[in-house]
């Protein structure tokens, strides 16, 4: 076909440059996060049985359904296809004990999506992490159910909420006989929220996310690093205590998967570091001096609120901007 033979009514596409785009999409990013959560999901199934997987299913369904319904009522486009509601559902479940009543889990999912995410404009607009906010609402509303820790490996097929298996979490138990060994801590054979216990599974997911360039390691490293430094000082150089502190509670889960949430963490490297250090600092303050058993959720949510301020002081100057101090010095010289 020669150019002159293009039919005159044939219209060429005209659009602004660039005319090519990178392959990555929002959905692919969310899918990567889901993939990275799978090792921890499997671990939760092994240690806490089908009941744990059922809780995950309930929160995921609750999140996706409430996103669909809210968007429908608000007459906005359907966004469940971007998979972000699935991620929120999984992360929320990971922060719940496996014995939690299903209706509570579902309620947490609905609060996370409807109140925290959609009321503020949907994906990218929420000012705090929806999963953490959902967890905190449940924690405050149903403190007993949220603090009942199922002992691991207490029966895979046990779908009814186990009642007599509660025990202290390692964070509380360290130093007593009830504390699990370090290896059990690492692979996740201990009491706790269903997705937070298996450090090795979480680390695998974290490495996957960094390798896929979905997250930068800046926040997890500065977060966990800060906790490590403060703990080491507080425990006067006791490395075993340090290991327990780092592996217990939701620290690893929070640092890798919750604090790195795009919408509620700073964009620039400097901001990420400040954010991570802040999260670590608040976590330690709550753990050391607070009356709460665990501080990761509250630390992250506190720092979420500070993100706009962190952004303001860390926004880079446009290329080639001469710093004021330097300019003054040059003038003098």
């Amino acid at each position: 076909m020669t150019a002159s033979k293009i039919p005159s009514d044939k219209k060429l596409t005209v659009s602004a440059s660039p005319h090519i785009r990178a392959a990555s999409t929002s959905r692919r990013i969310m899918l990567d996060v889901i993939i990275s959560l799978v090792p921890a999901l499997i671990a939760s199934g092994i240690f806490f049985g089908l009941r744990a997987l059922a809780v995950v299913a309930v929160t995921v369904v609750a999140c996706v359904l409430s996103e669909y319904v809210t968007r429908r009522i608000m007459k906005r486009s359907n966004t469940i296809g971007d998979l972000s509601a699935v991620v929120t559902g999984m992360l929320l479940a990971f922060n719940l004990p496996s014995s939690i009543p299903f209706w509570m889990a579902a309620l947490g999912g609905a609060v996370a999506i409807v109140v925290v995410k959609q009321f503020f404009g949907g994906i990218g607009q929420n000012f705090v992490n929806p999963a953490i906010a959902g967890r905190i609402v449940l924690l405050i509303s149903f403190s007993t159910a949220m603090a009942s820790w199922t002992q691991p490996l207490s029966g895979f097929m046990n779908l009814t909420a186990p009642d007599a298996l509660t025990g202290a979490t390692p964070l509380v138990a360290y130093g007593t006989d009830a504390a699990p060994g370090l290896l059990d801590m690492f692979i996740g054979n201990r009491g706790g929220c269903l997705g937070e216990t298996s450090i090795v599974a979480l680390l695998i997911g974290g490495v996957y996310l960094v390798a896929r360039k979905v997250i930068s390691p800046a926040i997890p490293l500065s977060f966990i690093g800060t906790v490590a430094v403060i703990t080491l000082i507080a425990e006067k150089g006791d490395f075993v205590a340090l290991a327990y502190q780092l592996m217990s509670g939701g620290l690893v889960l929070g640092a890798i998967f919750m604090a790195t949430d795009y919408a509620t963490s700073p964009i620039n490297f400097k901001g990420k570091i400040i954010f991570g250090i802040g999260c670590g600092l608040f976590t330690c303050l709550i753990r050391l001096f607070g009356s709460l058993p665990e501080g990761v959720s509250f630390a992250i949510i506190l720092m979420n609120i500070l993100v706009p301020h962190i952004e303001r002081i860390t926004t880079p100057k446009p290329f080639g901007t001469v710093k004021e101090k330097k300019a003054k010095e040059e003038k003098k010289a």
């Binding site: 150019a3 002159s4 005319h19 785009r21 929002s26 966004t79 990218g124 926004t315 001469v322």
Partner: protein, 448 residues
Amino acid sequence: MISGKFNGVLKAVKQVRGGVKVDHHKNTSSCEVVRMPDPEKVIMPMQQHIGAPCTPTVSVGDKVGVGQVIGDTDKFVSAPIHASVSGTVKAIGDIKLPNGSLSQAVTIESDGENRLWEGVEPPQVHNREDFIKAVRASGLVGLGGAGFPSFIKFNFKPEQNIDTLIVNAAECEPYITVDHRECVDNSWDIVSSIHVICEYYGFKQVIIAVEDNKPDVFKAISDVAKTDGNGDKIKLMVLKSKYPQGAEKMMVQSATGRKVPPGKLPGDIGCIVMNVASIAFLSRYLKTGKPLVKRSMTVDGSAIANPMNVRVPIGTNIGDIIDFCGGFKEEPCKIILGGPMMGQAIVSTNLPVCKQNNAILAFAKDDTVLKPEYDCIRCGRCAQACPMSLMPTLIVRFAKAKDVDALKEAGINVCMECGSCAFACPAGKPLVQHMRLAKSIVREADKR
């Protein structure tokens, strides 16, 4: 005369930030430039450069020869326009340029003789002033795509202390290979041009900067530079292939480590950046006096039957060039003048080629489907990709609020619309369009 020794291939002085990895698609890099036969007529727009448009200096019915001035102006930022074929001026009237603006244009019907205008003779150059005059008379503009009149770059004041000439052969846009061919096929022109320029300018160094995906360029230029007397001044530099390595400010930083401040030019920090094809052209012009009437272009894309590099008279119809390359093998859906990152999508092939157009790319339907647009997820990939350290998400927000001060503070005028942000965005946001809108908001406010 042979005094200095060639330095060999050097590494970039500094790695530039940001940028994106694009697929190179340099399909035509081994295609030698093919000369296209003269068309029956050419249309010469009077606006083929950044700056003031030219006024036609011929009238309908005039006989013109190749290289005869047909348009000029006494405004400073401009370059004269020369007839690219010999023949008769048939019409003078307005045409629509690819960007939608109107420009006067001179239509010349070729007599098929390709007769050189009798006024064409090698310029007499004895000093810097002569040289600058000659460069202006050649009609040369930046052949890499920007179309900035070249003589202005050479016309700097002594107190500017320009010590470095950077020859830009990065060619970071996908598909385009004309600069690559220029380096391989005309390496002697490049080196001899540098030799002449160094006679009139006391540059301390001349850096020829090339991306690392063109190994044959290094060989071709080293072979010539070794035998040249100015070899010690020439630094052949290898840059990492990433887009937009060839952007002027990026180039200056890679090659010298210096940063061009916002609103300033490379000349303000002692550098001149010239496209490699422009440099090679100068050598030929100084020898023959034949002004800029032809240029090489890459014709490629999934809809083109025989992708190749062609040398065409300025003013040739784009449709004719595509037909010369075998026409379309598939129905074209989008045709781009320039590269896929910064090029202009055109509405019709019935347009003349201008001096600064370096490629015609035609794509079939499957290659023109962009991903759908979703809400921003604040992933920060746009800010990471921005070579100018801007925050596109912030700028979009300020533009929506029409906050002129915030836009200026955010550095909107530093944006060069390279497209890295929009390329990287997983939500498919047309960020370059947002940047242009933001710029127009600032422009409007400044007028008031």
